[in-house]
C-alpha cells in the first residue's frame, strides 16, 4: 500500500466525529453517499450551496488523498460513518499528532491510514506546505514511511497486525472464525457461570 498525493489541510485540534459527519446523517441504513456529507456543516451554507472557500470544495482537495489535521483527530462518537465518509471523499490517509482510539480502529478497518507524526514533523510538513502548496507527500505503509521532497524520512507507527491486514487484505471476521475451536472451548468452560438473557 503506497501512494503519492498533494495534502489537504484542516489544521484544527480535536476535530470530533460530529464535525466529520453530523449525527442527522446517521439515520441511513447503508454505507453509501456519505462522501458528500463529509464535514457538512463546515462545507455548505444554510441553503445547501457549497462554501467556495472551504478547502474540501476545491478541485485540488477533491484530487487529493491525504488529509492533514490537528491533534486528537476523530474524538467523540464511535460512528464508523466518519471513516466511511473520509474514504468515500477520496482520502487514503489522515496525518495527525494523535487519533482518538475508536476512530483509529474504525479507520484501519476501512483501509484509511491514521498516520501519527510528532509535533515537530507535523510543523515541518505545515511549513513545507506553506512554502509550496502543491507539495506531494509519499506514504508507504509497508516501509511505514512518510516522505516529501526536501523533508525527513519519517517513520510512522502502525500496529503490526493492522499493517498485516492492510497489506495482505485480511478479512478479520474470517480470521477470527478460524478460532472456532478455541471460542467453543472458552464458552464451554464459561457457560456454566455466565448468566444469559434466556436463562
Amino acid at each position: 500500500m503506497k501512494f503519492e498525493s498533494t495534502v489537504t489541510q484542516i489544521p484544527v485540534d480535536n476535530i470530533d466525529t460530529d464535525q466529520i459527519i453530523p449525527a442527522r446523517f446517521l439515520k441511513t441504513i447503508s454505507k453509501d453517499g456519505l462522501g458528500d456529507q463529509l464535514f457538512f456543516d463546515w462545507r455548505y451554507n444554510a441553503d445547501g450551496s457549497p462554501k467556495p472557500e472551504f478547502i474540501l470544495n476545491t478541485e485540488k482537495a477533491k484530487a487529493s488523498n491525504v488529509l492533514l489535521a490537528g491533534d486528537n483527530f476523530g474524538c467523540g462518537s464511535s460512528r464508523e460513518h466518519a471513516p466511511w465518509a473520509l474514504s468515500q471523499y477520496g482520502f487514503q490517509a489522515v496525518i495527525s499528532t494523535s487519533f482518538a482510539d475508536i476512530f483509529k480502529q474504525n479507520s484501519l478497518k476501512n483501509r484509511l491510514v491514521p498516520l501519527v507524526v510528532s509535533r515537530e514533523v507535523h510543523q515541518q510538513l505545515r511549513d513545507a506546505l506553506a512554502a509550496n502548496p502543491d507539495l506531494k507527500v509519499s506514504v508507504d505503509v509497508e516501509a511505514q514511511t512518510l516522505t516529501w521532497s526536501g523533508g525527513p524520512v519519517e517513520q510512522f507507527p502502525i500496529d503490526p497486525f493492522a499493517k498485516h491486514c492492510l497489506l495482505a487484505g485480511v478479512d478479520e471476521i474470517g480470521y477470527v472464525t478460524q478460532h472456532e475451536a478455541q471460542i467453543a472451548a472458552y464458552e464451554a468452560e464459561r457457560f456454566a457461570t455466565l448468566n444469559t438473557l434466556t436463562n
Binding site: 460530529d18 441504513i29 474524538c75 475508536i102 457461570t193 438473557l197
Partner: protein
C-alpha cells in the same frame, strides 16, 4: 504461590482471553452486546452477505433510542428515514433471534439506561455497543467500551473482538462533595483537567472515598463521560452498593446463582500494590459546580470562573482552537459565564436521565417557575424511569414549573429525532457533548449537572445553583 497484584482492569481482561498469539491482538470474549438502530444496520447487512448467523443471540440485546421521537407514543414516527431505520432494527432482531425492546415496548429507553436497569450489566463482564458512551456500564465494574460498525459485525458473528490491552489510569477522587456539587461535576472537572484527549489509549479506574460514596446512578454519570476525556472505558470496582442495586433485577442471577456470582464479584477489586500506568488525584472538597464554555467537553471550568483568553495560550494550534470555539459560542474572553442568557434547558441523556437526576432537577423546580424565555425539556432515560417519576409526582413538579415532560430517548443530546436547537440558540444541557452543532446545527451548548440546568431554567441565565439552595 503469590501472584502479581492486578488491577480490576487486568482481571476482567485476563478472564476474557480466548486466544493469544505473538504479534496479534488478543481475542477477547464479549459477555454482553448491546445494539441500537443507528450503528447496526450495516453490520446486519454484512452478516447477511456472508451468510452468517448471530453466534450468541442470548448475549445480545437490542433497543431503539437515538432516532426515536420523544412525543407521545400514540403518535407515529414522522421522519420517514428514522422510521425506516427503526423498522430495520426490528426486522433484524426478528430475523436473527435477538431479544428486542422496541419503540412501543413498555420498557424501551436509552440503551445505557435500560442495560443496568434490567440487570443486564453485571460486574466483571465485557460489555460492548456501537456507541461511545458504553463506558457507562463500567459503573458496575464491567469493562465496557464503544465499538464501530465493523466491530459490531465481528461481535455478532463471533461473540469476540480482536483487542490490544489498554493502559490503566487511576483517577482517585477523595473527600466529599459540597452542597450543590454533583457527580457530573466530578467528570466535567476531570475533562477540564486532562483535556478531551487526556485519556487516549487508557481505561480509567475511578477510586477514592468520594467515588465510594456515590450511588450507582452517580457512578454511571461519571463512567459515562470517560470517553469525553479520551478513555475508551472507565470503571468503578463493585462493592455492596453495586450488589444492592443489582439484586432482584430482571436479568440478574437469582437464588444460589446470585450467591455464587457475588462471591466471584468480590474477587474483582484491584489488589493492594497493583500498579497503574497513570495516576491522577482530584480533591472532591475543592470542587465547585462545573460548566463548559467551549466546543468540546474538555473546555470546562468552575461556574464562578471566567471564559479563558486565547491570547494567553502559547501553542498556535491550541490558541486557534480556543479562538474558533469562542467565536462559535459567541463568548467574550475574560467574562464570567454566570449571567449568560440561555434559550433552552435539556435535562436528559445517558449521562443524566435517571431517577436521581430527575429528583435533583425537581428539587430546584419545585414551587418555582422556569423563565418564560426558556424552553425546558425533561426527557427520562427509560419508560420505567418515567413511570417511577410519575409515581412520585415529579412529572407534576416539572409541568407546574412550565417544563415539558416527554417520552424516553436520547433526544436533544444528539438531535437526531427532531428535538434540537435552532441556529444561534444557547442551551444548558445535562448531556455529554458540546461539539459544534451537536444539539442542532448552529446550536451552542453549555454542559452542566441537573442541578445547574434546573437553576438556569428558573433564572433564564447560566446560574450557580448554590444561590438557589
Amino acid at each position: 504461590m503469590p501472584s502479581k497484584p492486578r488491577t480490576i482492569i487486568e482481571k476482567v481482561w485476563d478472564n476474557h482471553i480466548v486466544a493469544e498469539r505473538e504479534g496479534a491482538p488478543s481475542l477477547l470474549f464479549i459477555d454482553l452486546h448491546l445494539v441500537h438502530e443507528v450503528t447496526s444496520p450495516q453490520a446486519f447487512s454484512g452478516l447477511r452477505q456472508r451468510g452468517l448467523k448471530v453466534r450468541r443471540p442470548d448475549l445480545t440485546f437490542a433497543t431503539v433510542d437515538h432516532s426515536t421521537p420523544t412525543t407521545p407514543r400514540s403518535l407515529p414516527i414522522v421522519d420517514p428515514i428514522a422510521k425506516a431505520q427503526v423498522a430495520q432494527l426490528e426486522a433484524n432482531a426478528q430475523e436473527f433471534g435477538i431479544p428486542y425492546f422496541g419503540f412501543q415496548n413498555k420498557d424501551q429507553g436509552i440503551v445505557h439506561v435500560i442495560g443496568p436497569e434490567n440487570g443486564l450489566t453485571q460486574p466483571g463482564m465485557t460489555v460492548v455497543c456501537g456507541d461511545s458512551h458504553t463506558a457507562t456500564h463500567g459503573a458496575f465494574g464491567a469493562l465496557a467500551f464503544g465499538i464501530g460498525t465493523s466491530e459490531v459485525e465481528m461481535v455478532l458473528a463471533t461473540q469476540c473482538l480482536l483487542q490490544r490491552r489498554s493502559k490503566s489510569y487511576e483517577v482517585r477522587v477523595d473527600g466529599s462533595l459540597k452542597k450543590g456539587v454533583a457527580a457530573k461535576d466530578i467528570i466535567l472537572a476531570l475533562c477540564a483537567k486532562i483535556g478531551i484527549g487526556g485519556g487516549t489509549g487508557c481505561v480509567f479506574e475511578y477510586t477514592g472515598s468520594a467515588i465510594r460514596a456515590l450511588t450507582m446512578e452517580e457512578r454511571m454519570t461519571v463512567c459515562n463521560m470517560s470517553i469525553e476525556a479520551g478513555a475508551r472505558a472507565g470503571l468503578v470496582a463493585p462493592d455492596d452498593a453495586t450488589y444492592e442495586y443489582l439484586a432482584g433485577r430482571r436479568f440478574a442471577p437469582k437464588g444460589a446463582k446470585w450467591d455464587e456470582a457475588v462471591a466471584k464479584w468480590r474477587q474483582l477489586p484491584t489488589d493492594d500494590g497493583a500498579a497503574y500506568d497513570h495516576n491522577l488525584s482530584i480533591d472532591a472538597d475543592s470542587l465547585e459546580p462545573m460548566i463548559t464554555f467551549g466546543t468540546n467537553p474538555g473546555m470546562g471550568m468552575a461556574i464562578s470562573g471566567a471564559v479563558p483568553d486565547p491570547s494567553t495560550i502559547a501553542d498556535p494550534l491550541e490558541r486557534d482552537s480556543l479562538r474558533k470555539a469562542l467565536a462559535y459560542m459567541a463568548l467574550e474572553p475574560g467574562k464570567p459565564l454566570a449571567g449568560q442568557k440561555i434559550d433552552v434547558v435539556f435535562i436528559g441523556s445517558c449521562t443524566n436521565s435517571r431517577l436521581s437526576d430527575l429528583r435533583a432537577a425537581a428539587s430546584i423546580l419545585k414551587g418555582r417557575k422556569v423563565s418564560e424565555k426558556v424552553r425546558t425539556m425533561v426527557v427520562p432515560g427509560s419508560q420505567e424511569i418515567k413511570r417511577q417519576a410519575e409515581a412520585e409526582g415529579l412529572d407534576e413538579v416539572f409541568r407546574a414549573a412550565g417544563a415539558e415532560w416527554r417520552e424516553a430517548g436520547c433526544s436533544m443530546c444528539i438531535a437526531m429525532n427532531g428535538d434540537q436547537l435552532t441556529p444561534g440558540q444557547y442551551s444548558v444541557s445535562t448531556s455529554n457533548r458540546n461539539f459544534e452543532g451537536r444539539q442542532g446545527k448552529g446550536g451552542r451548548t453549555f454542559l452542566a449537572s441537573p442541578l445547574t440546568a434546573a437553576a438556569s431554567a428558573v433564572t433564564g441565565v447560566v446560574t450557580d445553583v448554590r444561590t438557589l439552595l
